[in-house]
Structure formats: C-alpha cells, structure tokens
C-alpha cells in the first residue's frame, strides 16, 4: 500500500488528490506527469484536459462520448483515448480516458471508477490520508 495525503484548500473540504504519471502506451518516451488528479468515486469515467493527450500523442479508441461532471449535471462531449497511467511510477496500467477542452476542466484530472475499481483504496478522512494498493486488478 502507498499512502497519500489529502490536498488542503482554504475554503473547501480536503480533497483526495495525487500526482499521476502518464505514458503513450505505444511509446514510453512520450510521457507526462500531472500534479492534481482527483479520485472521484462518483464518476464512472476518467476525464483529462486535451493538452495532456496532445503532449502524449496518443490515439483515439472510440467515437464521441457524452460527459457529465462537477456533480451539477454540467454536460459536454469528449473523445476517448488510451494512455498508460501510474500512481507511483512503478506500476502502470493501460486504460481509457476521455479528453475535453482545457477551458472546461481547468488544472485538474478526474480519476473515475474505470480506474479506481482496479485498486484497493482506503480513505482515512479523520487523518486526511488515503492509501492505494499496489495490486492492480
């Protein structure tokens, strides 16, 4: 298990977020990292800003997808891509992410259940720590 601290802000509740490491699944030399990926068990998909996808030069895997997020029913559309993703730079998985314009998402990534359900994750709210298993299902 790897422990991560919640991210604290002044005016909202602490957030379970972490840095993630990304690669093009066909060319690991094309890589990127991102400092603020939110674990969101309320989202069934993982959502990325398109600039990250563009940097990785990954390819499409499907047609247009409808996306609803921010918990308020904000709707938009995005495109699915396949990336290689890790929380610790050691254990990588290939998985689907949906890209939307940077103007919509801002400086964050939403990690949804298509990824979260592959790990054992424990949220310790009182201690503001969460842990993620190295076991990939």
């Amino acid at each position: 298990m790897t422990d991560f601290p919640y991210t604290r802000f002044d005016n909202i509740s602490p957030i379970p977020a972490l840095s993630i490491y990304l690669q093009n699944p066909k060319n690991s030399l094309l890589s990127a990292s991102f400092d603020f990926a939110i674990l969101d068990i309320g989202s069934d998909i993982t959502i990325f800003p398109y600039s990250i996808i563009s940097k990785l030069q990954v390819r499409l895997t499907d047609a247009v997808k409808s996306v609803t997020f921010r918990g308020l029913g904000q709707k938009t559309k995005g495109m699915p891509f396949r990336v290689r993703l890790s929380f610790d730079r050691e254990h990588y998985i290939n998985t689907r992410v949906i890209a939307v314009p940077d103007d919509i998402l801002g400086n964050e990534i939403i990690i949804g259940r298509n990824i979260l359900n592959r790990y054992i994750i424990t949220f310790n709210g009182p201690k503001l720590v969460f842990s993620i298993s190295n076991v990939i299902i």
């Binding site: 699944p25 066909k26 060319n27 398109y50 563009s54 030069q57 990954v58 390819r59 499409l60 895997t61 499907d62 047609a63 247009v64 904000q74 709707k75 938009t76 559309k77 995005g78 495109m79 396949r82 998985i93 290939n94 998985t95 689907r96 890209a99 939307v100 314009p101 103007d103 919509i104 998402l105 801002g106 298509n114």
Partner: protein, 123 residues
C-alpha cells in the same frame, strides 16, 4: 410589377433554418461562462476524424446484426468486421494490444481504432 420568386411561400420547409453543425458543442467553461467548441478540436488530425466518423456510420448500419451476436460487449470494429470482443474494454484491448492490427492503427502514424459497446437493444 415584378414578382420576387426567390422565396417559395408554399413550401413550409423553406422557412426552417438549416440544421446547425452537430459537431458544435455549447457548454460552460471552468468559470461558468458560456463556451463553444467543435468536437473536431479533440481529434489529433483530419485522418483520425475521418476514420472515426466512417466507423461510427458503419457501426450504426451494422447495429441490428451486432446486437444479435454481441449485445452488452465491447467490440473492436472496423468497416463492418468485428476483430475481437469482450465484456471488459481494457481486457479486450490488452489482449490485442501487441497485434499488427493495433500497431498499425495506434502507432505514431495511426488513425486510432473503434472499440465500442454494443447496446442490448436498438433505440
């Protein structure tokens, strides 16, 4: 007197504006302001856009047959042919990931692939 015949008042369709571009998406940005973009902006290049658009149309045409055989499964689909299928998309793509089919389409010069969930019934 000269009649203007360019407008046909007999045809009700003539008064209806043409369909807006279905690729245009109207939403709000991260600050809550109105924001419009074109879905083509999220494609790496024109070849990818053309490929995915073509596969989407072919998939829709084949849907009745696909439902009979693959309802509830993800299919790796191209031009009317199902290359492989599975209930889990990641399992399916991991299985075929090192094949020539994928290498050609997902490599540096590739246009992508079309891996789509087959619904259980026609809408």
């Amino acid at each position: 007197m000269v009649l203007d015949t360019s407008i046909n008042f007999q045809d009700p369709q003539a008064a209806i504006a043409p369909d807006p571009d279905p690729g245009l998406i109207h939403t709000v940005d991260k600050n809550g302001n109105p924001f419009t973009y074109h879905i083509r902006d999220l494609f790496p290049d024109q070849a990818s856009y053309d490929y995915i658009s073509r596969q989407q149309k072919a998939f829709d045409r084949c849907l009745p047959e696909l439902i009979q055989k693959y309802a509830g499964k993800y299919v790796l689909f191209e031009d009317g042919v199902v290359v492989d299928s599975d209930e889990d998309e990641d399992v399916l793509l991991d299985r075929v990931w090192e094949t020539d089919f994928i290498n050609e389409r997902m490599g540096a010069n590739g246009h992508g692939i079309y891996c789509h969930l087959v619904p259980s019934e026609l809408k």
